[in-house]
Symmetry: C2
Subunit: 221 residues, 2 copies
C-alpha cells in the first residue's frame, strides 16, 4: 500500500481543478501538473480517467447519502417509526443544499465539485447516478409511512419535486441571483432548505388543487 501520497495528491488536484474549471476543459495533463506527479500515475493508480472521476463522485455521494440517512433515521426514531413529512424532506434535501450552497469563500472544493457534477453530467457520473434509485426508495418508504392516505403516485411526484427544487436551485444558483438582482439570498442555506421543504410539503399534503389549474387552462384554450 505504501504511502498513498501520489493517489491522494491526484484526487485532491483533480477535485480542485474540476471544481474550478469543469470537466470539459481539464485534461489529465492539467491534473498531474497540479499534483506534481507523473502523467502515467493516473492510469497506474486509478486505471483510467473515468475511474478517477467515478471515485471522486462516489466518495462524495456516499458521504451525502450517509448524512441523509442519518437524519432520516433520527427523525423516524424520534417519532416512533413515523417521522413528520417535513423532517423526511429536510433529511432528503438538507445535506445536498448545505453542501453546495452557502458563502462562496467557505465552499469546499468538495462542494464545488459536486455542483459541477450536477451541472455538467459527464458519462461516468451519470452511470453512478442511475444506481441511486435504491437510495431514494428508502425515502419514498418513509414518506409513505408519514402520509399513509396519499397514493404512491403523489408520493413519487412529491419526492421528484423536492429533488427538483433542491437540485435546480444549486444548478442555476448564479442565474437566480442575477435574475433577482441579489434579492434571493442563497448564502442563507437554512432559509433555502426551509423554502424547499415547505413547498414540497404543500405539494404532498394539499388537496387536489390541480383540477383548478387544469380547468383554467382548459378555459383559456
Amino acid at each position: 500500500m505504501a504511502s498513498d501520497h501520489t493517489r491522494t495528491a491526484i484526487l485532491a488536484a483533480a477535485e480542485r481543478l474540476y471544481a474550478d474549471r469543469g470537466f470539459g476543459d481539464v485534461t489529465l495533463r492539467d491534473i498531474v501538473a497540479e499534483a506534481n506527479v507523473n502523467l502515467a500515475a493516473v492510469n497506474y493508480h486509478f486505471g483510467s480517467k473515468d475511474e478517477l472521476i467515478a471515485e471522486l463522485f462516489v466518495t462524495r455521494s456516499i458521504a451525502t447519502n450517509r448524512e441523509r440517512l442519518r437524519e432520516l433515521k433520527a427523525a423516524e426514531e424520534q417519532g416512533g417509526g413515523r417521522a413528520p413529512i417535513e423532517l423526511i424532506l429536510h433529511a432528503l434535501v438538507g445535506p445536498t443544499l448545505r453542501g453546495c450552497l452557502g458563502p462562496e469563500n467557505q465552499r469546499s472544493a468538495a462542494a464545488r465539485f459536486m455542483i459541477r457534477a450536477s451541472i455538467e453530467s459527464v458519462p461516468p457520473i451519470r452511470r453512478i447516478k442511475n444506481r441511486e434509485i435504491d437510495h431514494l426508495r428508502k425515502f419514498a418508504g418513509a414518506m409513505r409511512r408519514a402520509l399513509p392516505d396519499r397514493s404512491d403516485v403523489d408520493i413519487y411526484w412529491g419526492l421528484n419535486f423536492a429533488l427538483a427544487m433542491a437540485h435546480h436551485t444549486i444548478r442555476e444558483s448564479e442565474r437566480l441571483i442575477k435574475l433577482s438582482e441579489g434579492k434571493c439570498d442563497l448564502d442563507d442555506v437554512e432559509d433555502v432548505i426551509a423554502r424547499v421543504v415547505s413547498v414540497a410539503t404543500m405539494a404532498l399534503t394539499a388537496g387536489k388543487v390541480e383540477t383548478k389549474a387544469r380547468a383554467l387552462a382548459r378555459d383559456a384554450r
Copy 2:
C-alpha cells in the same frame, strides 16, 4: 443563398444525431455522413461546430419563448392586464413540458434535442442560456401584477421553483419512471403541467409555512 439544401440537411442531421446520442459522442464526421454532405460544409456554412450547435439551440429556444409569450399575452389580455397566477405559470412551463414530454414515439427530433440540451449542457448552449434572463423578467413582471402583495423575493423563488419542477422532470424523466415503476405517467403531459402549476401556485400564494418546517428542523438538532 442558392438552394440552402446543404445547410438544411446539416441542421436536420445534427439535430437528429445530437438528440439520439448526445453531444458527447457525435462528431462532425458523423453529422456530415448522416447528411450526405462534405466534411468542410459545416465550417463553410456555419463557421464552426459550436456555431452550428448554437444555431440549433437558438432556433428552438426562440420558438419556445414565442409560444410562452403568446400564452402569457393571451392570458393577460383576457384578464384586462392582470392574469391569474395559474395561467402565467401555465404559460411559463407549458410549452417546454409539452415539447419535451409525451409519448416517446411521437416526440420530435426537435423535442429530443432540447432534452439533450437540458441534460448535457455544452458550452455554446450555456452561453445562450445566460441571455434568457430578460425573457424570464417578463414573467416575473406578470407574476408581480398578479400577486401585488407578494414580495419580490417570494416571486423569484416561485418562478425558480416552477422552472425547477418542469426542467428536472424533463431531465430525470427516465429515473422518475423507474423509481415509480411506471406509476408516474409522463405521457399525460397535461397532467404533468397541471401538477407543476398547482404546486408552484401553492408556493406563491400560501402563507409563511416555512417557519413551521424551520422550527421542526431546529427541534431535531
